[in-house]
Subunit: 235 residues, 2 copies
Amino acid sequence: MDNNNLGRHISGQFNVELEDVRSQVMAMGGLLEQQLNDALDALQHGDAETARKVMSADRKINSMEVTIDEECTRIIAKRQPAASDLRLILAISKTTADLERIGDACVRVARAVIDNKEGNRKGLLVSMEAMGRHAARMLHDTLDAFARMDVDAAFRLHKEDRKIDKEFEAVFRQLMTFMMEDPRSIPGILDVMWAARALERIGDRCQNICEYVIYFVKGKDVRHMDTEDMEDLLR
Amino acid sequence: MDNNNLGRHISGQFNVELEDVRSQVMAMGGLLEQQLNDALDALQHGDAETARKVMSADRKINSMEVTIDEECTRIIAKRQPAASDLRLILAISKTTADLERIGDACVRVARAVIDNKEGNRKGLLVSMEAMGRHAARMLHDTLDAFARMDVDAAFRLHKEDRKIDKEFEAVFRQLMTFMMEDPRSIPGILDVMWAARALERIGDRCQNICEYVIYFVKGKDVRHMDTEDMEDLLR
């Protein structure tokens, strides 16, 4: 028996399994982009029907999380990967958990559209929707960086989150002003505020995923590392 | 050479490593209980000094997360565990991530104490501190269930989160009433509201950890499962 061929065969099978689980993550990511864009469309047009669609599609995302994570565990147990293969599987498992939480944020936005009529004030929607679209672009680019395991893009996107934080602060101040001007609007505006906060948190989730890309490529856990140290690592 | 002895030796070493990483998680959990109790004491007495102590200790928690997670990856790569050993390591890694986020919640509460004088209204503090103490008990009991991998306790605690959610709703309504009565207090009360929300989220994190305990013991991922299905599984 040719051990070399066997080795190739095993490795080939392993590659197929890795590729398969990676493509499942990409499919989950694609569905989340759809969810987020739908939630933002619902917000823009006050469209409760689209919002309800977002809420019911969240189940699919939850079950994708469980399926992908089980597959990761199965691969680790069966293939006993080390080094970069193991890092890839762990990065996939963690990414899936963050994607699922982005799904929860979409649900939060959708629920605000359904529960709430206060959100339909014009000025309020414009700035919040702009922040949401920014988060959607960040999600798209983050999934792209993940697909290509592009460490430079991951690092650039990691810094992008600051801009979304600043946009959230502006939205937050605006909402606060509305509340102070018209205290009766407080309950409705608080709903909108939670939704804005959920959109802002999408940036944090994308930042986490960027950290897993850097972890996979560089073999270094960069969570809680400051930007300068991260720059040194990537140089 | 006695293979049986070798097997025992390897397994013995492995057990030592597993026990070591488990005890690191327990140490991290102990530190978090301290952080949460300190944050609540700071809240209770408006004590900015204790709040600052909480904020600076968070670094230690962040670095524990990274260290424990690296150790988990090292054990997987070196020991190539399967079945329950692998589940234990994955449960530990995920628990660590949730513990770190509980640390962020403590920081959020501490920051509200430092930034904010509105929080010192008597009625507001009483209900929020009570909710926080409830979350602290849930954290304590969850860490206990994790230490003993007690699936029945984990299931009982999993349901406990609903009570904290209800307490949060009551606190939230109370804060909203204060805001409507006195719109000038809105900015300060919003800070308190974020802190209350952070305390409520500690219950969710504990719930996650309970799910990892059930996953370890039962070999089944129960995330997103409803309570009835979970009950069936445990019967």
